[in-house]
């Protein structure tokens, strides 16, 4: 049975100094910015839980709405980072949506967009699980960043459309558990709540054994 190493990834925010006042300028910047800029603007909302007003799912969409581009705001909101395994694919899809929008891209926006980059730092927590019992003990010891890393960011690291926990459960033959964990909705709950849900899912299985 392979072991599971609990890791974490923390970050802070760096303003790139790039500010866009038109969709055209936004697009131009989007083509070239570091992929951690896309990570920041698309993923932070899931981490922060309702960092932005609820009507839109990410800061790109929110900016569009603030400037009256409601259709574009909706189209960008439907992008679900959890369905992606590459930030470049997200970048590509956003660019396509904007290029196909039919909007006049040179209209001056009343509110500018500030491109911010996530400065990410990986951390090993030195917590290892070898079975369900040690896994649930490990789960109890980790924080929100670690949870986010394994449930969300790991998809990008591994290039697989599944969270890290479920991947490990599959590897040890706990297929049902893997499915249950993947079903936990990150958009509907805070990470504090998600952690509680995961613990009870694994404990239920553990005590049923």
């Amino acid at each position: 049975m392979g072991e599971f190493r609990f890791k974490s990834e923390v970050w802070t925010s760096e303003y790139t100094g790039i500010k866009a006042n038109t969709i055209h300028a936004f697009l131009k910047a989007l083509r070239h910015v570091h992929e951690d800029v896309i990570y920041y603007h698309l993923y932070r909302n899931i981490f922060e839980f309702h960092y932005l007003p609820l009507d839109y799912a990410n800061s790109f969409a929110y900016w569009m709405a603030e400037n009256g581009y409601y259709v574009l705001a909706e189209k960008l909101s439907v992008i679900d980072p959890l369905q992606y395994t590459s930030l470049e694919d997200i970048r590509h899809d956003i660019i396509r949506i904007l290029e196909d929008s039919g909007e006049d891209l040179d209209v001056l926006c009343s509110k500018p967009f500030y491109f911010i980059r996530a400065v990410r730092m990986a951390v090993d927590l030195n917590i290892v699980a070898k079975d369900l019992e040690s896994f649930v003990n490990g789960l109890k010891k980790i924080g929100w960043h670690s949870l986010f890393y394994h449930l969300v960011t790991a998809r990008l690291k591994l290039g697989k459309p599944i969270n890290d926990f479920s991947l490990w459960f599959e590897s040890i033959g706990e297929i049902e558990l893997a499915r249950e964990i993947e079903k936990v909705n990150l958009w509907a709950h805070t990470l504090r709540e998600v952690k509680g849900q995961l613990i009870s899912i694994v404990e239920r299985k553990l005590y049923a054994h």
């Binding site: 925010s13 839980f49 911010i116 010891k141 924080g143």
Partner: protein, 406 residues
């Protein structure tokens, strides 16, 4: 360990993560410099941040520059002119005063033993001239300098460019064209500060009774110093509109410094206006009335922060931590704290303020849910442990930055 006390609020797992981020920084010498040990948001945070850093094995210290009244008059002027152009100008005498005091502080504050130096706000920023090779200097700018007086900026810029990084509260506060790395780290509150600790129900009630406020009727509260930019007159007008539909009380709690003639003028005007109205309480409290403010916030039904212009406005977060829905002006850092429709409302007018206060007073269940959401948001994003984590990541990044391809 001190850091472990915070597990009560954020859980042990998050404490372990902070320890892991601090691990590579053990033994590092970090200095924070500001201009006062007492009063103001910066010293409040440093008071707790330094022991927390030390607790994590970082050799952190805090030093305060010295200056006479003349120096602080000049730095106040610099502060105002960096915030926005005004009638005032920075004179050559002001520059001489600033440089003379900075020079005196260079011999008083020895920055050479430190690996990392945080300089808070413009007052001590001239100390950068003593930067030695291998050190990383960070300017923690707590104000909005996006549209400064250009002459003042030119003076400050010669210091700024020598720093390794600037930290702003929000990206909108950054001055365009600054070439050094610009980080965005929001300020935070300490749940163990007197302003935020849990209070006994009897103390809350007796505080209300002390001021003649009825504990049984809904309370609308704004906590802010008496300043036109906090729009106390707008709050009074909004309250008049609310009062037509709801039986409630308004509390405007704050203060003004003895050397602030404008504050006194605003206070007197507010008092005069309030005297014409029923159920309005204007409380001019001493600056150390932390428990009283805490009690008022906990007793409030709806908290208002109707600022016209705002730096960050952490008083919003303080109320959110006490599970209060906040109706706040759609400006500055308030926009970053309130999630519209989820933890409270962002408003753009007196009418909007009245409408949202009324909505929250009428829908008490909705107000409760928003209050709970507000507390969770603060727990996640605006506690001192998050700010500490941000600083630790920043330091890690800077000490490794020479090897990073950017």
């Amino acid at each position: 360990m001190l850091i472990e006390q915070y597990a009560t609020y954020i859980g042990e797992g998050n404490i372990e993560e902070i320890k892991a981020v601090a691990e590579p920084l053990k033994g590092l010498k970090v200095l924070h410099v500001n201009s006062t040990r007492l009063g103001g948001g910066v010293s409040e945070i440093l008071y707790r941040l330094i022991p927390l850093m030390r607790d994590l094995g970082i050799d952190a210290e805090w030093q305060v520059i010295k200056g006479d009244e003349e120096f602080f008059k000049v730095t106040k002027k610099i502060h105002n002119l960096l915030h926005m152009p005004g009638h005032d100008k920075l004179t050559s005498e002001d520059i001489i005063t600033y440089m003379r005091t900075t020079h005196a502080n260079l011999s008083y504050i020895d920055t050479s033993p430190y690996d990392i130096v945080f300089i808070h706000d413009p007052q001590p920023m001239g100390l950068i001239v003593n930067k030695r090779q291998g050190q990383k200097w960070i300017w923690r700018c707590h104000i909005d300098i996006s549209t400064p007086d250009e002459e003042t900026w030119k003076f400050i810029e010669m210091f700024v460019n020598a720093y390794d990084a600037i930290v702003f509260h929000i990206a909108e506060f950054a001055k365009e064209g600054v070439k050094i790395p610009k980080f965005i780290i929001a300020p935070s509150i300490d749940p163990f500060h007197d302003k935020n600790v849990e209070l006994d129900r009897n103390f809350i009630t007796s505080t209300l009774e002390k001021f003649g406020i009825d504990p049984k009727r809904p309370i609308v509260l704004q906590v802010s110093r008496f300043d036109r930019l906090k729009d106390p007159f707008g709050v009074l007008q909004a309250f008049k509109m609310v009062k037509r539909a709801c039986d409630c009380q308004l509390v405007l709690a704050g203060g003004y410094a003895s050397d602030d003639p404008e504050g006194e003028e605003v206070y007197n005007e507010v008092m005069e206006e309030a005297s014409k109205m029923k159920d309005v309480f204007v409380l001019n409290l001493p600056p150390d009335s932390h428990y009283e403010i805490n009690a008022l916030q906990r007793a409030a039904t709806v908290v208002v922060q109707k600022s016209i212009r705002e730096g960050f406005g952490l008083v919003v977060t303080e109320a959110m931590w006490k599970e209060k829905p906040v109706v706040g002006g759609n400006v500055g850092g308030i926009r970053r704290q309130i999630v519209n429709g989820f933890t409270g409302y962002l408003v753009n007018s007196i009418e909007g303020t009245a409408y949202r206060i009324r909505q929250l007073l009428i829908n008490s269940e909705m107000a409760k849910v928003m209050g709970r959401n507000a507390k969770e948001r603060v727990r996640h994003t605006f506690l001192i442990t998050r700010q500490l984590k941000d600083y630790l990541v920043l330091i890690n990044y800077l000490i490794n930055s020479d090897h990073i391809q950017r």
